[in-house]
Amino acid sequence: MRPSARPILLATLALAAGVGFAGVRERTPTYAAYGSAVPIALLPSLTGQPEYCLTCHDGIEEISAAHPTEVFGCVRCHGGQPLALDAETAHAGMLGGRNPSAFDVVEVACGGADCHSGPSDEGLDHIHRSLVSLQSTYAGAIAAVRYAFGAQPDLAARFAVNAVRDPEITTPTGLHSLDALLPVAVTEPPQVQALGSRCLTCHLGAEPLDQPGRRRMTGCAACHAVTNWDGAYTGGDPTISRNESGHASTHRLTTAIPYTQCDTCHNRGNYRLVDMDFHERTDLPAGGSASRLQAYYQPIAQFTACEYQLDCIDCHPSGEVMGDGDLHSRMDEVRAVECRTCHGTLTEGPQTRSIFDADDPALRQAHLNPSSSLQVGDSVVVTKRGETLWNVRRLEDGTFELTAKVAGAVYAVPQVAGSSCEQVVEDQTSSACHECHAVERH
């Protein structure tokens, strides 16, 4: 007897339905949610291995002109799985989540002798300098508070937020190592314990308070990835929400860092040793709408016109902000720029040096900035500790000009020599200059 045909037909239809399921699944891949119908491959010349991150992240900005996407790709810095096409597998093994410059992973993501962990004399030791800089260690504030409350006999730093060592010391005030303050020992005075529990959101490795105007990333991106007032992303990557904080404003690193980025920590108010509490400045309007003059410095500060019209980095170069590679106890030990660095004194002009080597670090830094036209053969200003201000140049006629690093404007730098300035030549402190040149804020 023949097997009855109807069950076989129905069973065949069941198989066909299964095939249909498979066909539908084949036609609707998960990454189609972000608009791409086919996987988008990137073949960076540095690795030679195809990467498919752009399948979902199509539209994300190139991270910087110095890190071309065609050369680096994505995985070299971010880690992750280059071949995967769904989010969970693709993001497995990523370094630091959305921020590979966070200090716990920066050495793997950004390091290497050819990258940012190179020799200091070639200016390639950015990671080391950042990790031991005062902005990272917070050693000065910690030492000041401990000294104020009797926990140490002088202002030499002994503690940093995390333990750090520096085997190679190149300056007279450099230290060998700092112990970790956290967790704060119970033997410390109560004010130091209060410091440990309340005041440590202002070092580079710390997550900032989640308040408008304080939003920034951590690690290198704390300065180099510009964030806006509400910390939201405004770029072109379709996978990143536009409505949540915790993002840089766009997927770009820059050396043209505006003052607003510095002000996510600086100029926010003052802490008082009396109650070990931070008192926010109260003079700013809400919502980040303050003008530059209002917002730049907090009310107790004294400043000249150029100090608020330029950005912080126009005067404070990376050797001051990122440090010189040594552990220090105070800002004064790294800060070298003064008014006379660019304006000279009554008796002498600014110190300068000439750039004669195409590989000069100052020239390399200048090339990262699209406003700069610095070339081999130019003379630029140096601070009293020898650091080059590549954006202040001496022209052939002997005058000086400054190129603003962020705004791009070019300014003539008035010189003290030959002017009607009434300074006492021996007193070159900033308060002496501010006595006549400070502006009022209304």
């Binding site: 540095l46 030679g48 065609e70």
Partner: protein, 174 residues
């Protein structure tokens, strides 16, 4: 069962239709499986090698510079007339030539020697080192393209650098 020799085209019975439909579906599924198997087996991962290499902005290379681009098998030069690039693949049998101190190149395989700008000096190589195309990308950086060929006289003249002397503000006074 109806006999076949009475009616040359017997109407399709229900049982016959069911059998036909079953067979049709099975053939279609089988066909899809065969096509799928063929596609599955035919995949090959892209073995493309990068052909475009991005370098620095033109200001980063003074006149007289010679830069060997790592991983590209190419060298980029700047002379008084502008930028040009040479492939570092020997025309004899494809070995990668090595730079030597006097500015030229030599080939480790069979001893061909080349002058600083790629001209053939001696050895079995049939021709000079080939000129490669250079361009500027949208960020103003030099890009060397391994797939483009140009002749040895070709130069890329960079755009003039931003000149000083554009409008300057006098001090910071508002």
């Amino acid at each position: 069962m109806p006999s076949k020799d009475t009616d040359p085209h017997p109407p399709l019975s229900r049982r016959g239709f069911v059998a036909l439909a079953t067979r049709a579906v099975l053939w279609m599924v089988g066909g899809a499986a065969a096509v799928g198997l063929g596609r599955y087996l035919s995949y090959s991962p892209s073995t493309a090698r990068p052909t475009r290499f991005t370098l620095d902005v033109p200001e980063g290379y003074p006149s007289g510079a010679r830069v060997v681009v790592p991983g590209a098998g190419a060298a980029v030069y700047r002379d008084a007339e502008g930028f040009f690039a040479r492939s570092l693949t020997c025309g004899h049998l494809g070995c990668r030539v090595r730079p030597v101190e006097d500015g030229g190149f030599d080939c480790p395989c069979h001893g061909s020697r080349f002058a600083a700008e790629g001209a053939r000096l001696q050895g079995p190589a049939p021709r000079d080192l080939e000129g490669l195309a250079l361009a500027l990308d949208d960020q103003g950086r030099l890009v060397v393209d391994l797939s483009g060929r140009v002749d040895s006289a070709w130069r890329l003249t960079p755009p003039p650098a931003i000149q000083a002397g554009r409008s300057r503000k006098e001090g910071c006074r508002t």
